[in-house]
């Protein structure tokens, strides 16, 4: 089995999330799906254009097709955005490690997402909310540039807030229209909310600059390095640790990541 050969899959549905984000519901033609865990990624390809590593935003335990939320930024994501339901793409995976859920039983969970960074968190949040009783309080802090850029609106506005002991806290960088909510950058907003580090695990995901400042804010709030979990993104080609692309020091994001604790991150060269 050549790990670089993808399986052909069909785009079953395309859900527009924001002006430049769409969620693609994808079903591999032969296997229907594959086993994966929250935080893992897959290589999605548009034949003739190329491949890109994209985090899986669906939740495996729900046994549905694969879902990928993709922001239009480059060649492959651009081609995906041009695709229609029924089109064929390639999928191979899953790749990378996953969020260490096993260690989180009984603890409070704090999710901090920014923009399209909610995509990997969504897989995790839905997984956790499906086994709600395993965890303590759940808080979801999520921000985007504008109200229109908030992804997964149905979940953040309706589904998640309805679950017992779940707080969803939304913010935008710049308000417009009839936005009544908070206007602040995610790290500032987070500091203002001031969640307690007591018995809590914080998981953050978003653009590199947001992660950088969120890590600092969490530290300021008293979270220890091993209480903070984040994901890294680096250019990838093979996804299987062979192409030499996504190394940070001696670690490879595709094998050793994308999920790292802040403690692990501090051991790595600051080059990502």
């Amino acid at each position: 089995m050549n790990p670089l050969v993808p399986e052909i899959a069909t785009i079953k549905d395309i859900i527009p999330e924001t002006g430049d984000v769409k969620t693609f519901v994808v079903e591999p033609d032969n296997t229907g799906s594959f086993a994966y865990r929250p935080g893992q990624c897959a290589m999605v390809s548009v034949f003739g254009v190329g491949e890109a590593m994209i985090s899986i935003t669906s939740t495996a335990a729900r046994r549905g097709p694969l879902e990928f939320s993709v922001k239009r930024v480059g060649r492959v994501s651009g081609a995906l955005h041009e695709a229609e339901p029924g089109h064929k793409v390639g999928v191979r995976g899953p790749y990378g490690n996953w969020f260490p859920l096993e260690d989180w039983a009984g603890r409070n969970l704090l999710f901090v997402g920014g923009g399209i960074g909610l995509a990997p968190l969504r897989a995790l949040i839905n997984h956790c909310l499906d086994e709600r009783d395993r965890y303590g309080r759940v808080d979801i802090v999520y921000g985007a540039r504008s109200p229109q850029d908030l992804c997964f609106k149905r979940e953040i506005m309706e589904n998640w807030p309805r679950v017992k002991d779940v707080g969803v806290h939304l913010t935008v960088d710049a308000a417009n229209g009839d936005w009544q909510g908070a206007v602040a950058l995610v790290p500032h907003f987070l500091e203002r909310l001031g969640p307690s580090p007591e018995g809590t695990v914080a998981v953050t995901c978003g653009p590199p600059i947001m992660i950088k400042y969120t890590l600092a804010s969490l530290t300021k709030l008293g979270f220890a390095d091993d209480q903070i979990v984040t994901t890294l993104e680096l250019k990838m080609q093979c996804g299987v640790g062979k192409c030499g692309r996504c190394n940070i020091g001696a670690k490879y994001v595709c094998l050793d990541g994308p999920v790292f604790t802040y403690e692990q991150l501090k051991q790595l060269p600051q080059e990502y």
Binding site: L4, G48, V76, K88, G90, L234, C238, G241
Partner: protein, 336 residues
Amino acid sequence: MKLMRAGALPRLLETLGRQAQVYAPATEDGLVLLRPWTGQAIATSYVNPVNSLKGLVYPQTEAVLEFTGGDENLSLREAPAPAPQVVFGGRPCDAAGLALIAQVLLEGTFVDELFRRRREATTVLTVACREPGPYCFCRAMGVSPADERGSDVMFYPADDGYLVEAVTARGEEALQAVAGLLAPAPDTGARDACRELRIPLAEKLTTDRLAARLEGFFEHPYWEQVARRCRSCGTCAYLCPTCYCTAIFDTSRGTRGRRLRGWDSCQFKDFLLMAGGHNPRPAKKQRVRNRFLHKLSYSPANHGAYGCVGCGRCVEKCPADLHMVAVLTDLGEVLP
């Protein structure tokens, strides 16, 4: 161990060539290159062919798959299995480089099928060294002029031919096919001479405890200083017998296309450029540092060996003389 007269070499290649494509060193425009052998003169006086063994087992570009069809009906075909090949004339450093690439590509969670198939279809006939080239430093990197790693058959140059010894079962098989050309070896002198060959340049370099000494060296100003002369081309990586970084890309013509894999270099400025514009290593300092730390620190950490076999190609060919020997020499002064 057997003895083969030098004059029997064409017949050996001819015999092995009945079952496989044979490659041998040939002189072209004043350069020695490993080329498909079709009976032409076989070059013998060279330190190392310009192209390393790497390219024959891990080609500069190769197909992963072919695809045909349109958006809604698409079919894939995996690249066909490679044909058998016999490569004569690579040096022990290059073969050791292959062994190192094999470690990276074949060990771990995933196996690189493309490499595995081609490696298994290749018989490596290595010619050991009786004379060091001006830029050879193999011994500094833990490789010997008679190193057997990665080779199927060793050829030790003797006065009137070669001492020949199979290293692997595949090599044994190859030698059986040409048994008529081999006579019993009178002694092991030629092999011993290769094994004992001194490599003067290597003696000037210290690689003792290098990985440990490099700890904490990541932020040292040395990298900025040395990287200034780098031109961010791919000469070092593309000539290197151990550099294995690749890119995967598609090409298409109408409704048919191919997905290919090809060499890439971490020295190119766009190597890590992501869609959206983020580039974690935009500066030469970062890229040069990554190249050398990969070989001297990350590779030992992940694979237990330096990512360099001391072949000397980067020393000879880097247009700005930013090469492993220069860096090792500098590190000898800069490192604690």
